[in-house]
């Protein structure tokens, strides 16, 4: 009797769960995850502080959080950190925008022109696997050690991710969507503006997001190797190494990490969320 009741109760619960669950459960899980992460990072930070203060490792190998904080403070006060952040962000943005335009055009062309896809398409897939910093020596010989060389590396880092995202976006369009549009009189430029481009927006956004991640990585690699240019955060990192200043190295790493994540979270994550909810795309 009791067993039967329990199992009936369970069945009821199981039936009820999907109806009430989504927002509720997601909210609770989100909170739980946030709390766990906060605790994790607090413990990590505390451990670092204790290990550093105890002098278990010499300070030039492992400075304390206080030293790192002091470096960041002085660097801001000396008006060095913020201009470097500005320089790097601008550099990254310029290369990224160029990569976005070129990648989009190339991706659309590959998706629509068979011959181009059979030839250039294969090359793009191959080049995507090449770390973009490998282009730096080539860029140095072509352009010399200047902004152009750095931009070249950034563009090569981001452009293929965007290209491939756009190409697969167009390729995966349901053919019936296009036919429906054509039957309603959408041709030529109208078909592009009102159907093809909006239809690939979700794929395009994830390409944009990935492209930014690649652009930022490529830029940092290039700045590490190009110290004579206008000072960006990558240069600060290289300087920290030259000075054997571990507090500076850790501080700058934290800044680079923060900038990369901040752009992703502030710019791309909300955009992707809006598009996903409107387009009815699952999972993003």
């Amino acid at each position: 009797m009791i067993a039967a009741e329990t199992s009936a109760g369970k069945r009821l619960q199981r039936n009820a769960a999907p109806v009430a669950a989504p927002s509720h459960v997601a909210g609770r899980n989100g909170l739980r995850q946030f709390a766990l992460q906060a605790v994790f990072y607090a413990l990590l930070f505390a451990a670092w502080w204790i290990v550093a203060e105890r002098g278990i490792f010499p300070a030039y190998l492992l400075p304390s959080p206080k030293d790192v904080g002091e470096y960041l403070q002085t660097s801001v006060a000396e008006e060095r950190l913020l201009p470097a952040i500005g320089t790097s962000t601008l550099r990254g943005a310029i290369g990224y925008v160029v990569a976005l335009v070129v990648g989009t055009v190339l991706g659309l062309a590959l998706a629509r022109i068979r011959l181009l896809d059979d030839t250039v398409g294969g090359a793009v897939v191959g080049l995507q696997s090449l770390p973009s910093i490998c282009w730096f020596p080539l860029a140095l010989i072509w352009f010399g050690l200047n902004e152009k060389a750095v931009q070249f590396v950034v563009i090569m880092g981001a452009v293929f991710a965007v290209t491939l995202a756009v190409r697969s976006g167009v390729r995966n369009l349901p053919p019936l969507t296009l036919r429906a549009a054509q039957s309603l009189g959408a041709t030529g430029i109208n078909l592009w503006i009102h159907v093809l481009l909006p239809a690939i927006l979700p794929a395009f956004l994830s390409g944009m997001r990935q492209g930014w991640a690649f652009a930022w990585r490529s830029l940092m690699a290039a700045e590490l190797l190009s110290q004579s240019l206008k000072e960006g955060v990558g240069h600060l990192l290289a300087t920290g190494r030259d000075l054997n200043d571990m507090a500076m190295v850790l501080g700058v790493i934290a800044v680079i990490l923060f900038l990369g994540i901040a752009v992703d979270r502030i710019v791309f994550a909300p955009l992707e969320k809006i598009v996903a909810s409107r387009w009815g795309v699952e999972g993003a």
Binding site: L176, A180, S183, P198
Partner: protein, 268 residues
């Protein structure tokens, strides 16, 4: 004569012969139902009439503007229901205010006024299909091609939309080509029923239906007769396909397959 189909065949690149040598002339204002076993090439024929596919043999000409309701809704996910419906008007360059007003009128007709601002993924399957119907009707096309438009709907909604369609057709004199698996539906709506053979599709029968309206397929003697004729032809057709597919097993399987075929023929 808005639709002329002359010895049309369609072979897909895969080698599938979907349609073989179909000839059909559809006059202004006719309401033609296309019936035939699944996979016999009805959607293929319709999409050639819509100009979205070309025949691999023969000629096909359609005059006038064409509106299409596909077998699946094929809505634009990034547009609201209203903006989906007004898409065709936008492509014609109709101004925003007018196209919104006309889209809303079309939505009213398919009983979706309250969902004008929803996105397609927020609708049920039947609501999506109704949106697609409104989208095809809103531009007031001369020829309306509909591929099982009411297949996904419940009986009540279906009969409501059938009467709406009939009203539109009677008032505007559009030419309608209507694919369906429902003999009853075809008999209720059409002025003519074209029965297609199993793949490769050919025309098996071409019946004029001129019973008075409103029709009752249960009581009208001419409709009952047409029903029997069509059902018998369909049953034979499906049986012959089953026979070909089952080959030598036919004798052993004759009972269940024949029964299934009969049921299938009754309402394919």
């Amino acid at each position: 004569m808005p639709i002329v189909v002359q010895n049309v065949g369609r072979v897909y690149p895969t080698g599938t012969v979907a349609i073989e040598n179909i000839s059909l002339t559809i006059n202004d204002g006719q309401f033609v139902s296309l019936i035939g076993p699944s996979g016999c090439g009805k959607s293929t024929l319709l999409s050639m009439m819509a100009g979205l596919d070309a025949p691999t043999s023969g000629n096909l000409a359609v005059s006038g503007r064409v509106g299409v309701v596909f077998q699946e809704p094929a809505l634009f996910a990034w547009r609201t229901v209203r903006d989906n419906v007004s898409f065709g008007l936008q492509m014609q360059g109709v101004g925003k205010e007018e196209r919104n007003a006309r889209a809303e009128a079309a939505l009213k007709m398919v009983h979706l006024s309250n969902f004008a601002r929803s996105y397609p993924h927020e609708l049920s399957g039947g609501m999506r299909q109704r949106t697609a119907i409104a989208r095809a009707l809103v531009t007031d096309p001369d020829v309306l091609l509909m591929d099982e438009p009411f297949g996904a709907l419940d009986a009540q909604t279906r009969s409501l939309l059938q009467s709406e369609l009939l009203r539109v057709w009677e008032q505007t004199g559009k030419t309608v080509v209507f694919v369906t698996h429902g003999l009853d539906e075809a008999l209720t709506l059409s002025t003519r029923i074209v029965l297609m053979s199993a793949r490769p599709g050919r025309v098996l029968a071409d019946l004029a239906i001129d019973a008075p309206r409103p029709r009752d397929t249960q009581t009208d003697p001419s409709l009952r007769a047409a029903y029997e004729t069509l059902r018998e032809l369909l049953t034979k057709e499906v049986e012959s396909v089953a026979r070909a597919e089952h080959d030598r097993d036919w004798e052993g399987m004759s009972k269940p397959v024949a029964t299934a075929a009969e049921q299938f023929g009754a309402d394919i």
